[in-house]
């Protein structure tokens, strides 16, 4: 059970997240949809703790002030003030938007770095799993991450996040830049992971259509507030959502 | 009894370096002695000496000469120095400072660091402008003359005729090396090779091996970086059949013996001015050495010691004779100066403002040429003041 209560994030005076509460029960997929600048990435940063690091760096440079409010609970423990790496230790792993992979390390090394927290055996299994999921990566094991194509980098980023053996996996726009076939793989894979490993998955997307069928519960973000929530079915049948996210 | 205004002597020195701190000690020692004796008698008034030392950092790599010049200006403008004694220590800084000195019309006696003949040459060329500058320590040509005499002697007694020159990559050292090469060739010596090492080199094996192969009997060295001690260590480890001699600041210091673990034995070093190691050059020499030891707890170290000490006395003498501290009068008095100092007779050449050099302390300033023998610095040249003979390393026999 991963729970975010009344998350609020201000970038200087601009509110980017406004009282967003998210409930992610174990082994469920939570979808978060919203258009540009709805605050999806901000939410992901807040959940994974990266926002604390962003905040620190901004302060160092004397830039804008970032304020974060709200509380986070993982299985009842308060993780609000944990640094990102400690949250990762607890199993909250973010697969960031824009595929921040390690450009100078090879694909294999990227995956191994991802497995920093897991045991040797897990690592081996996970590598097999990831390479099976994304056979395309197999051709490039020794290529440096930075030279991969956009979509391949996206696959690598997802794969790397899986290597960390997460209990709560945060996927920020995982489908961006993937070809239809791979979108399919990712969507199916997501579902499979939930079912087999019992991982809680929170996924944000603009392109809701492929994701909607697999989610257990979804939120619509608009201008930083959660304006609507419900199961996949409910969202799908809401006329506003339909026109905005499924293009009718 | 109103205290007279003290005479301020400014000393721009690189105080973190051998040639800076030893000069500082020399100057302070002299000033103390003069002040205890009542000060300088300027036309009947007793004025004390006040020493203002300023750190120029000019021997440090990466520090612009401008910084040293600013320090000199600070002495003149802010500390109101009447005379400048000591540095700047680096040749180019000293040369650059000449213009400043003439701009401010301040007399300076250069005592340490600068060996380049360019200094006296410029004074001779443009006397009107640079007449404020004096130098009471030796310069390259006479030092070379000393070395040549020594080598000729070795040639006659031991039959040496092959030399190998190793110098540091700085102007005065290269000039010294070139000078030596020419002079030796003229005297029918064979100069096997001349190597120029960048500042900071710690590995001399290439050159040493080469010199050994080619049978050099003299290693002529000219370096003023501490790393050069490594050269002697390597030389001693290789047991090369050659005698090292030259100008090397690492080997000037008493601490050299310990630092090399005795491996620097037999090195012959030119201390530029007499009195920088215990010797009986004039009656004043040992007095100076003892006073120095008493005040600072160790023997004079680098080559700037006795000259810096003397410079203060020279100024005192000139001021007292000029009866004023006015620059022009003092210049005239310095030019006509003549008395027995720590390292011989103190006279400035009237054209070049360079101390007059000689092998006889009764005639002029004498070099301090020593050899390291059993942990001691023994004066071995010029013959008139020598206290020991040159020894060869046992493996050369």
């Amino acid at each position: 059970m991963f729970e975010a209560r009344e998350m609020m994030v201000f970038y200087e005076n601009m509110i980017a997240l406004n009282n967003v509460s998210i409930n992610a029960p174990d082994a469920k997929i939570i979808g978060i949809f919203g258009s540009n600048s709805a605050g999806k990435s901000t939410l992901m940063y807040a959940l994974s703790g990266i926002i604390l690091d962003i905040k620190k760096k901004e302060e160092m440079r004397g830039g804008e002030r970032i304020s974060v409010f709200g509380r986070l609970f993982l299985n009842g423990d308060d993780v609000t003030n944990l640094k990102p790496h400690l949250r990762a230790k607890k199993g909250i792993v973010l697969c960031p938007e824009r595929r921040r992979i390690f450009p100078e390390s090879s694909v294999m090394e990227n995956l191994k770095i991802g497995a920093y927290l897991s045991s040797r055996l897990d690592t081996k299994n996970n590598i097999d799993y990831v390479l099976n999921l994304f056979p395309r990566l197999k051709d490039h094991l020794n290529r440096q991450g930075g030279f991969l194509s956009g979509g391949e980098q996206q696959m690598l980023a997802i794969g790397r996040a899986l290597m960390a053996n997460p209990t709560v996996l945060l996927l920020d726009e995982p489908l961006m830049g993937l070809s239809p076939a791979y979108m399919d793989i990712v969507v199916k894979g997501t579902k499979e992971i939930r079912d087999t490993k019992g991982i809680t998955i929170i996924v944000t997307e603009q392109y809701a259509r492929p994701v909607i069928p697999i989610i257990d519960y979804g939120y619509i973000l608009e201008n930083g507030s959660a304006v609507l929530e419900g199961t996949g079915e409910e969202l799908l049948n809401n006329p506003d959502v339909k026109s905005a996210y499924f293009g009718v | 009894f109103a205290q007279e205004k003290p005479i301020v002597i400014g000393a721009p020195l690189a105080t973190a370096f051998l040639y800076g701190w030893d000069a500082e000690r020399g100057i302070k020692l002299a000033a103390d002695e003069i002040n205890t004796a009542g000060g300088v008698n300027v036309a009947g008034k007793k004025r004390l000496l006040k020493i203002e030392v300023i750190d120029t950092r000019d021997l440090e790599p990466g520090v612009p000469v401008a910084d040293a010049l600013l320090a000199v200006e600070k002495l003149i403008l802010e500390k109101k120095a009447d005379f400048i004694v000591g540095g700047p220590v680096r040749s180019e800084a000293a040369l650059a400072a000449m213009d400043l000195l003439s701009k401010h019309k301040k007399i300076s006696i250069l005592t340490t660091g600068v060996l380049t003949p360019a200094y006296s040459k410029r004074i001779a060329e443009n006397y009107g402008k640079y007449k404020y500058c004096f130098r009471n320590s030796s310069e390259v040509p006479p030092m070379m003359g000393d070395f040549m005499a020594l080598l000729e002697d070795l040639h006659k007694t031991k039959g040496f005729n092959k030399a190998y020159i190793m110098v540091q990559d700085v102007a005065h050292a290269r000039a010294g090396g070139e000078y030596m090469k020419k002079a030796l060739s003229e005297k029918k010596w064979e100069v096997v090779d001349m190597k120029i090492y960048p500042t900071g080199t710690t590995d001399y094996s290439q050159g040493l091996i080469d010199s050994g192969k080619k049978g050099a009997q003299i290693l002529f060295l000219w370096m003023d970086m501490p790393e050069s001690a490594a050269l002697l260590q390597q030389w001693s480890n290789m047991k090369l059949k050659s005698l090292p001699m030259g100008f090397m600041n690492a080997a000037e210091q008493p601490g050299f013996w310990k630092a090399t673990g005795g491996k620097g034995e037999y090195m012959i070093v030119n201390l530029v001015n007499g009195g920088n190691a215990p010797a009986k050059i004039t009656p004043w020499t040992m007095k100076f050495v003892e006073a120095y030891k008493k005040k600072w707890g160790l023997e004079p170290e680098g080559y700037g010691t006795s000259s810096s000490y003397m410079a203060v006395y020279q100024l005192k003498d000139a001021i007292e004779r000029a009866k004023t501290t006015e620059s022009d009068a003092v210049i005239a008095a310095l030019e006509s100066q003549d008395f027995m100092g720590v390292y011989g007779r103190m006279r400035f050449d009237k054209k070049t403002h360079q101390i007059i050099h000689s092998w006889d302390p009764k005639e002029g300033a004498v070099t301090g040429m020593i050899q390291w023998q059993a942990g001691k610095r023994v004066q071995i040249f010029p013959p008139k003041v020598a206290e020991g003979k040159i020894l060869l390393p046992p493996w050369m026999k």
Binding site: G62, F69 | E73, E92
Partner: protein, 336 residues
């Protein structure tokens, strides 16, 4: 309590000040123009104020030379993205050229300095051309090597006066010319650069820093833009060098000294990178600081470095960034 946050609000004036014409009242005008005016007037009056402390008057000149170098470093590093550790190279080239013009070719001072500045800027740009494709640290290192190489070459070939340098340059006509030549140039460059980086060309150059590939894709030659920027920076540096060689009537190897690269950089860091003004303020703090500390002898560098580190650690964003924020914005606690 938990739901309070600190808010920063622009002081009204600044918002309206994007075009000067928008300003209505004298008070607002003063508020905006006050600090720059204070700076300009203060710096211009400095030589007069310091009449009583002749030594400190000399320090002004050095201070301004470092300020120019810092300006050039700040511009290159924070607007063009070239971290150039070759400030000393600019100084050296300017200094030597000026010496050559003045001593060997007998040009008068008022000709040799401008000529050295212009020629120097072109020569430096030309010599740095091959390095322009380098990125980040690599550029920094190569530019660091340039002044070292220049000294070694002059030393090894024994040209241009060898290690002794070129002496006997004419000094500037009088003390006041000497002061104001550099002060006015510094102020001129400061305000010219501040305008320049917000002009369209300046924006393009800033674009090069962020993403040169995109600049290429917009049909602009990146090399040309970089060369142009380096030329401007070198112009400032060479002026500093040429001026300094005349000030000390001497030019030599130590014109390429590392300090000319490092101190400007430190000035920029403590002044606040990317503000230009910060670079000037930084050197106006650091250079006199080093003079004040001179009394400590050898220990002064230690104190100096400790203070410098302190500045960096406690005002990591830089003095100017901090000051501007405080001046233009106020903070208050609000309930969320």
């Amino acid at each position: 309590m938990e739901t309070m946050r600190k808010e920063r609000i622009d002081r009204g004036v600044r918002v309206r000040a994007s075009g000067l014409y928008a300003i209505s009242s004298w008070r607002e005008m003063l508020y905006l123009m006050g600090p720059p005016l204070a700076l300009i007037i203060g710096v211009i009056l400095l030589p007069v104020i310091l009449e009583l402390a002749p030594y400190w008057k000399r320090v002004i000149n050095i201070m301004c030379v470092y300020a120019l170098l810092a300006l050039s470093f700040d511009f290159l590093a924070n607007y063009v993205g070239l971290v150039c550790l070759g400030g000393a190279f600019f100084v050296g080239v300017g200094g030597y050229l000026s010496a050559i013009f003045n001593v060997y070719l007998h040009f008068p001072v008022y000709l040799s300095i401008p000529l050295a500045t212009i020629c120097g800027a072109f020569i430096c740009t030309f010599l740095l051309m091959p390095c322009l494709p380098l990125r980040g640290v690599y550029f920094a290192i190569v530019t660091l090597m340039y002044p070292l190489l220049a000294t070694r070459v002059i030393e090894a070939l024994d040209i241009l006066g060898g290690t002794n340098g070129i002496t006997g340059l004419d000094s500037l006509p009088n003390e006041y010319v000497e002061h104001y030549a550099i002060i006015l140039m510094t102020l001129f460059f400061l305000y010219a650069m501040r305008r320049f980086v917000n002009q369209d060309v300046g924006l393009v150059i800033r674009g090069v820093k962020d993403n040169d590939q995109a600049v290429k894709a917009s049909g602009i030659s990146v090399t040309k833009m970089k060369a142009f920027a380096v030329c401007i920076a070198a112009f400032m540096g060479c002026f500093g060098g040429a001026y300094m060689s005349h000030m000390y009537m001497w030019s030599g190897l130590s014109m390429f000294a590392l300090d000319f690269s490092i101190i400007p950089m430190a000035s920029v860091v403590i002044g606040g990178g990317g503000t230009l003004l910060g670079a000037i303020i930084g050197s106006f703090i650091l250079v006199p600081l080093s003079e004040v500390l001179r009394n400590f002898g050898t220990f002064r560098i230690v104190i100096y470095c400790a203070l410098l580190t302190g500045f960096i650690v406690f005002k990591s964003e830089g003095i100017m960034v901090y000051a501007m924020r405080k001046y233009h914005q106020f903070e208050r606690w609000v309930k969320v």
